[in-house]
């Protein structure tokens, strides 16, 4: 299979899976789930195959190179009316993000196996969402990039509104409108890039070679960066995130916090920073202050929460803040750490939401104070929860450590005073993280077991599968980060060099 065809298959397969579900009977729950699992499992295998081929054929980029090198690239005209092309290709960042998506969606489908309510619509929407996410990662044309971005955001409304819990309608509407308002900025920014470049082209790699006038970059950069950062939950645009994640059903929380929020960071890096480096140099110190608030504010908010999902959602705000923090550090290690954090946080938060979903389905409460002693009745889930918590606070040997070290070292390496101050403040967040993580973990698994929980059972074999996969990935990335770092190095060099040109 040649490279471009492989990429096309990967983004198309979820849509085909969705179509395959369409003619099924509405009550054929098992079949619907099996087809979804089959389609997405196959896709995960394809992505692993892609990754192996990528490692095989990726040239080692000289550290001085400016142009990003996209493998398996292919382009053909699509809508001639605005020179819109179907233009695909991947670099290491996108391949890693696709791998993350593949893992999370397979685990998400496994975790939502008990779902029976209108399962047909649920899995179709889930597949559309995932197809959109893959589409963003393979797109090199800003139009298709934006198109897939919107495709990925919209199914969320129904997924939360229909299958969610709590204030689901409010949360769904808030999330959708805030994200779409963010994309309004991106939209204007993309059109501005198209016309101001003089190229009349949406081609990312050609636009990267243009040196846009400084005056243009100064207004276009914050526009695009903010637009994407809304999805990255940047302060003060993060308010959709806790409500949305807390109300969403398990698989959707996993996918949204695990992968979709990364689209924000990915867009900031791929479009805003890569195409408008001078604007980035000017504005990133300002955004650094905002994301420092993010990191600390998210962590402090998490302390005050008693609902497990809200704790995780606020910790996501804090951890996703670290992604943008890495970008805003404007050093090589910072950028690299940010990319690593995207992967690490995706795995970790997916595991968290997966576990919370399973625990909730047993205890029917997510209030930390109501639980306790769960280690006695569900040792497997409890141990997994402890490990996830430790990954969250950056314990060495788990993935979070690799990413956070790079980010903080990178941020401190920038000699500007502002950077130093912000880094010190952000590092303090680790302590706060330890407080809420350990407290939550402790009151969940430790202490006396409440009588009404005594008859609960541990995870079934089916439930153990996604947890095990995610745990393995967390450990894998923590213990053997070498190959990922090497891949990321290659991809980050051109972006970094462009930024410093």
């Amino acid at each position: 299979m040649n490279g471009p065809l492989l990429l096309t298959t990967i983004w198309l397969l979820p849509f085909i899976t969705g179509l395959a579900i369409l003619p099924l009977n509405r009550d054929a729950h098992q079949k619907i789930k099996q087809i979804s699992l089959l389609g997405n499992g196959l896709n995960l295998l394809l992505i692993i195959f892609l990754l192996l081929r990528f490692i095989d054929s990726a040239p080692t980029m000289p550290p001085g190179s400016h142009a990003s090198h996209f493998l398996f690239a292919y382009r053909t005209a699509w809508f001639s009316i605005l020179n819109i092309e179907y233009n695909i290709g991947v670099d290491a960042i996108s391949v890693l993000m696709m791998l993350l998506t593949g893992i999370v969606i397979v685990c998400g489908i496994l975790a939502s196996w008990p779902l029976e309510k209108q399962s047909k619509e649920f899995f179709i929407l889930l597949n559309v969402l995932v197809g959109g996410v893959y589409g963003v990662f393979v797109s090199l044309d800003l139009f298709t990039f934006f198109l897939f971005y919107e495709v990925a955001v919209l199914p969320m409304y129904l997924l939360i509104g229909l299958w969610g819990t709590g204030k689901k309608e409010y949360a769904a509407m808030k999330l959708t409108l805030m994200l779409v308002a963010g994309s309004a900025f991106i939209f204007a920014g993309i059109l501005a890039l198209y016309f101001e470049s003089g190229l009349q082209s949406f081609d990312l790699s050609r636009l990267a070679l243009i040196r846009f006038p400084l005056a243009f970059q100064l207004w276009a950069f914050p526009l695009i960066f903010t637009g994407f950062a809304v999805l990255g939950a940047m302060f003060p645009f993060h308010t959709w995130s806790p409500d949305g994640h807390a109300s969403a059903p398990t698989a959707v929380s996993m996918l949204h916090a695990g992968v979709l929020m990364k689209l924000g960071g990915y867009g900031c890096l791929r479009v805003a920073i890569y195409l408008l480096p001078e604007g980035a140099q000017f504005w990133l110190p300002f955004f650094l202050v905002l994301v420092t608030i993010n990191v600390l504010y998210g962590a402090f908010c998490a302390i005050r929460q008693t609902d497990l999902k809200y704790i995780t959602a606020y910790s996501s705000v804090s951890h996703c803040g670290l992604v943008l923090f890495g970008f805003a550090a404007m050093t090589f290690a910072g950028l690299k750490g940010a990319v690593l954090q995207m992967v690490s946080h995706g795995l970790m938060t997916a595991l968290f939401f997966c576990l919370i979903g399973m625990i909730y389905s047993r205890t029917h409460t997510r209030e930390v104070d109501d639980m306790g002693g769960l280690m006695k009745v569900m040792p497997f889930l409890s141990v997994a929860f402890v490990i996830a918590g430790l990954a969250g606070l950056g314990l060495p040997g788990l993935s979070g450590f690799v990413a956070e070290v790079n980010i903080f070292v990178g941020a401190y390496a920038n000699p500007a005073t502002l950077n130093r101050i912000c880094t010190v403040l952000a590092v303090l967040s680790i302590v706060v993280t330890a407080v809420y993580m350990l407290r939550a973990v402790n009151s969940l698994v430790g202490g006396p077991l409440a009588g009404r929980f005594a008859l609960l059972t541990d995870a079934s074999l089916l439930e153990r599968a996604p947890v095990t996969i995610l745990l393995a990935c967390l450990f894998g990335m923590g213990i053997l980060p070498g190959w990922i770092i090497k891949l990321v190095d290659n991809a980050v060099h051109p972006i970094f060099n462009n930024m410093m040109r």
Binding site: I81, E121, A192
Partner: protein
């Protein structure tokens, strides 16, 4: 004579034939002859339109000119008339609509066809007089149609409001056109173009354009001339509402395109600011108005006002961008609007046409609910539906002149619109019906039409054929 004139002649002939056939069986009000004649005739004319050469131009008597561009517009009008005829069919049967059965089937179709002849004249106009006559022919029949529910007080109110406001607009238009005539000394576009180039700042031209914007703005539902729209949309029978929302609005925006990118091109630069202001005010008025609606057709009225704002915004683009984006969007808009009105017709068969009537649709009629969702997403500009590319092109036309702030404003406005489009989706999928209701019945004709429209909404957004064709024709 030329082949290019044939569609116009056939359409005129079809209108006469439909009326004549209706006279033949005037005793049998439920006869379906006029219905079948109308839709087959329209379909044949559409096929003829597709077969004609698009790279030629023909001028008849100096004042009637047919080009590829006008043929493209005519395709749109014929499609709109065709779907209106299909949409109207159940309304002439007893039990077809909760508000009661309509009478005079043949006249109804005839009037729709004659109004379309007027629209044909507008897009083929070579001088101001043809333009005016075409516009009147396209409007006066609609006054009759708006009051077609003769015994319904809301319909009478709508028709009254429409005719009073419309006549006022006609007066404005005639007044404005006479100023243009005064500036140019002749009625034909060529003379007007020369006069505009010679003295683009002439106060006569400026005054004339002001009055014309007010008059056509009434038909396009531009702020502040949009007040009539929600009342008329709600009062008129649904097929008429659909026809007004699609054909009449398309005529108005094409009227602007013809003038501002044709004879008055010299004024285009100075018109950009006023047009943008009007566009911004219109989309805001439409979007804010739609937020609090509970009746489906009033809601569609406000949504159509907002859409008019987006369309007007694209007028400021360069000629090719403005024409191509607006033509593409009109087709997309027509598909989505007709789908919405077909759904309203289905719901309105035995329920009130209100938001709450949609409840439980996701469980009872999953197919209809899916179409509703796709329609709302297309209207809201969500990919991969055609509305997304449509809006993208409209906004790109404004961006091409550097109005990025306006693009941000319009895109944020479109976010507001997404809120109320999602409200409908929410009614259909999330809110539960308070009592058990019988399932909605869908006639085979309605099912076919909805399938066609849904396919169009999806295909136009993914398949570049149509937009490429528009670009080639405009070149």
């Amino acid at each position: 004579m030329s082949l290019l004139l044939l569609p116009d002649l056939f359409l005129l002939l079809l209108g006469v034939l439909v009326l004549a056939l209706d006279l033949l069986h005037a005793k049998k009000p439920s006869a379906s002859g006029s219905f079948h004649l109308s839709w087959t005739g329209l379909l044949l004319i559409f096929a003829l339109l597709l077969a004609l050469p698009y790279d030629q131009q023909f001028v008849w008597l100096g004042s009637y000119q047919v080009s590829g561009t006008s043929l493209l517009c005519k395709q749109l009008f014929i499609l709109s008339a065709l779907f209106t005829v299909w949409l109207a069919r159940p309304y002439f049967r007893s039990g077809g609509n909760k508000r009661g059965r309509l009478a005079y089937q043949g006249e109804f179709y005839g009037i729709i066809i004659f109004a379309s002849v007027g629209m044909f004249a507008v897009v083929s106009a070579g001088d101001l007089l043809t333009l005016f006559i075409g516009m009147e022919l396209a409007t006066i029949p609609l006054y009759i149609l708006a009051g077609y529910h003769k015994n319904d007080h809301r319909a009478s109110e709508a028709a009254m409001k429409y005719i009073v406001m419309g006549s006022l607009a006609t007066g404005f238009m005639l007044f404005g056109l006479s100023f243009l005539y005064g500036a140019a000394g002749a009625l034909d576009f060529a003379a007007l173009k020369q006069a505009a180039m010679a003295a683009p700042a002439s106060p006569l031209l400026g005054l004339g354009v002001c009055f014309i914007i007010a008059a056509v703005g009434f038909k396009l539902t531009l702020f502040p001339f949009h007040m009539w729209a929600p009342d008329v949309y709600d009062g008129a029978p649904t097929p008429v509402t659909a026809f007004i929302a699609v054909s009449s609005k398309a005529t108005a925006i094409i009227f602007f395109l013809i003038l501002f990118h044709g004879p008055l091109a010299a004024l285009h630069t100075s018109l950009q600011m006023p047009l943008l202001l009007l566009a911004g005010a219109t989309m805001t008025a439409g979007n804010l108005g739609a937020l609090r609606q509970t009746r489906l057709r009033r809601f569609m009225g406000y949504s159509a006002i907002a859409q008019a704002g987006y369309l007007t915004m694209a007028l400021v683009g360069p000629r090719a961008a403005a024409w191509s984006s607006i033509l593409y969007y009109l087709l997309v808009y027509a598909a989505a609007n007709f789908a919405a009105f077909f759904l309203i017709a289905i719901v309105g068969r035995d329920r009130e046409e209100e938001f709450s009537s949609l409840r439980g649709m996701g469980k009872q009629n999953p197919g209809l609910a899916a179409v509703l969702m796709l329609t709302m997403f297309s209207l809201g500009g969500i990919p991969p539906l055609a509305g997304f590319l449509g809006k993208f092109l409209l906004f790109a036309a404004a961006a091409q002149q550097g109005y990025y702030a306006m693009v941000v404003f319009a895109a944020l406005n479109s976010t507001i619109s997404l809120y109320y489009y999602l409200l409908l989706v929410k009614e259909a999928y999330i809110n539960e019906a308070s009592e058990a209701r019988p399932m909605l019945t869908v006639e085979p004709l309605q099912r076919t039409c909805l399938a066609l429209l849904t396919t169009a909404m999806i295909l136009l957004g993914l398949w570049p054929g149509y937009s490429d064709f528009v670009v080639t024709v405009l070149r």
